[in-house]
């Protein structure tokens, strides 16, 4: 059950050209959050901007009763967020939505993140590695971005697995190309020796990338869970504002999602 709570800011750091990491304190939210879920953040006291902003759990630290958000400044809401200081409180609604589903039958976990899309994947990667069946799991992380400056979380991912591959569109770091190219290559080389039925792809990133990933997954018959984005108003399933088209009709990204089965999603 989600709550609305004022959460104290424990840390707030600039981690990239327009990127910030925010650590918030909440016993309740940190102990209930699941990777892939998100919070809806009030970014200002003013009516402009009016609505909350959805941000995924980047890291969930039950022990310290904290959770981390990784966000990029893309507009006024995120810009205003940068003005909050350590010690101040943010009005948070969460944990919201349906997160990733870690199927205990699966053994091969492939995390595919584009740009800020890596944000929810770190929490997921950490959870997979903290699970009891850790030793039986293989965790692969594929991350992509426009350029080197926009690659985040590589270091943290390397702490949970040594199977991390990086691509940049401009080749300034890692392989040159899209993260979906990394995925295809990975499936056709390393995964060939494995049973692909034991694998799941978890993807988050810009829509074109997600579409490419979903197509590869379908073609290669690999389960695929995708974290979607849609403009939101309430964030709690009440307004039907965040509808996205699925095989079963319109579904709310905020409640039914944000993580959806790739097979369900209707891309256009």
């Amino acid at each position: 059950m989600p709550i609305q709570e004022k959460c104290r800011i424990l840390e707030h750091q600039k981690v990239g050209p327009h990127h910030y990491k925010l650590t918030l304190v909440s016993q309740y939210i940190s102990s209930h959050a699941q990777p892939g879920q998100f919070v809806n953040v009030k970014c200002s006291e003013s009516f402009d901007p009016l609505l909350r902003r959805p941000i995924s759990f980047h890291r969930i630290n039950t022990q310290h009763r904290t959770f981390e958000l990784l966000y990029e400044v893309v507009g006024r809401g995120s810009e205003l967020l940068t003005k909050y200081f350590v010690g101040e409180e943010l009005d948070i609604l969460g944990p919201l939505g349906t997160g990733f589903n870690i199927d205990p039958e699966k053994r091969i976990h492939i995390l595919v993140g584009g740009g800020m899309g890596i944000a929810p994947l770190l929490a997921l990667g950490e959870q997979i590695q903290n699970s009891k069946v850790k030793s039986q799991n293989a965790l692969y992380v594929l991350i992509g971005a426009n350029n080197k400056e926009h690659i985040f979380g590589e270091e943290e991912f390397r702490k949970v697995t040594d199977q991390v591959q990086v691509a940049t569109d401009d080749g300034s770091y890692g392989k040159k190309g899209f993260v979906s190219d990394l995925l295809l290559n990975f499936i056709e080389t390393e995964l060939r020796t494995h049973n692909s039925e034991l694998a799941t792809i978890y993807a988050c990133g810009p829509r074109p990338m997600l579409k490419a990933v979903a197509e590869i997954a379908q073609q290669k018959k690999i389960d695929c869970q995708i974290s979607m984005e849609e403009r939101m108003a309430c964030g709690i399933g009440a307004c039907k504002g965040c509808a996205t088209k699925t095989a079963g009709g319109y579904r709310t990204v905020c409640k039914h999602g944000p993580v959806l089965d790739a097979k369900e999603i209707i891309w256009n």
Binding site: P2, I3, F47, L50, C234, I236, A238, C239
Partner: protein, 291 residues
């Protein structure tokens, strides 16, 4: 207090479409504390709603083009009404149709339901092609729809008016003549937002309905005008974010208010409005007569 024959603990309801069917908000607030819950619009048959995106934020407001997505009256009665019936807060069902007969039929179906305490007739939805606002823009049709609903039920009827008219007193009077027990206004104002990179609408539909604090001055004016045109009570809606905003509507002549978009910003918005009105009434004991 009593409004249009509906007994309420306080004059603060939640507005249709901004509170779902109550369940989503029950995690956050005590629904028993609300004056009334107005459901999302219910139609005869299920409606899948409009293509996304359905939400655009605008300065101090938002545009929506939900398009009355709902699972229809049957599903409502079976799956959603029982939940609402558990609370000691009157349920007002908001109905929307594509024809006069739709509205009458919906009212007829609901007239059997003792847990339904009132019907709000949405003749003002700007986000559907057929029906909706076109009824509310025409005083003749307004009267016709309300009269048809009146014939179909003895339950209290609230006519929900559209602001997209030149003179609000005409539909207001027409609704009263048709037999409405109260008016509620305003529904959203038709607006548009264009993505300058594509040149097309930022919504999946061409236009949407503008709500939120941006429209409050317009809503207060329309409530002021409507309240002076009819004898039945008027319910003020539009950009109410706080108790003082609600009080503004009371001064304008509203007997009750509905909190809409504010629910998205703060799940406790309606509860806070109730508290702040109480404080105001405490400070100004003779300001209003809620009864």
């Amino acid at each position: 207090m009593e409004l249009a024959g509906i007994k309420m603990k306080n004059p603060v309801m939640v507005a249709s479409g901004t509170f779902g069917f109550g369940k989503d908000f029950a995690d956050y607030i005590d629904l028993n504390k609300l004056g009334a819950i107005v459901t999302k619009s219910v139609t005869l048959k299920p409606r899948e709603g409009n293509p996304p995106p359905r939400i655009v934020e605008t300065p101090s407001g938002m545009l929506n083009s939900i398009g009355l997505q709902n699972k229809g009256i049957e599903h409502f009665l079976k799956k959603q009404l029982p939940f609402l019936a558990k609370f000691d807060t009157p349920t007002i069902v908001n109905i929307a149709g594509e024809s006069v007969e739709d509205y009458a039929e919906l009212a007829r179906i609901l007239s059997q339901e003792t847990t339904v305490k009132g019907i709000e007739v949405n003749i003002s939805c700007p986000n559907v092609k057929k029906g909706g606002m076109s009824f509310g823009c025409d005083a003749g049709l307004t009267k016709q729809v309300i009269a048809a609903v009146r014939k179909a039920t003895t339950q209290p009827i609230i006519a929900k008016l559209t602001p997209n008219v030149a003179d609000i007193t005409l539909p207001a009077k027409a609704a009263a003549e048709g037999g409405a027990d109260a008016l509620s206004l305003i529904n959203t104002i038709v607006g548009m937002s264009i993505d300058i990179e594509t040149g097309g609408s930022r919504l999946g539909s061409l236009t949407g309905g503008l709500s939120g604090p941006a429209i409050r001055p317009i809503a207060v004016r329309l409530v002021y005008e409507a309240a002076r045109a009819v004898k039945i009570p008027v319910i003020g809606i539009g950009g109410i974010m706080s108790g003082s905003d609600a009080v503004e509507f009371f001064h304008a002549g509203a007997k009750a208010v509905q909190v809409g978009t504010a629910n998205f910003v703060d799940t406790s918005a309606a509860i806070n409005v109730i508290k702040e009105i109480e404080e105001y009434v405490h400070r100004h004991p003779r300001a209003f007569n809620f009864s």
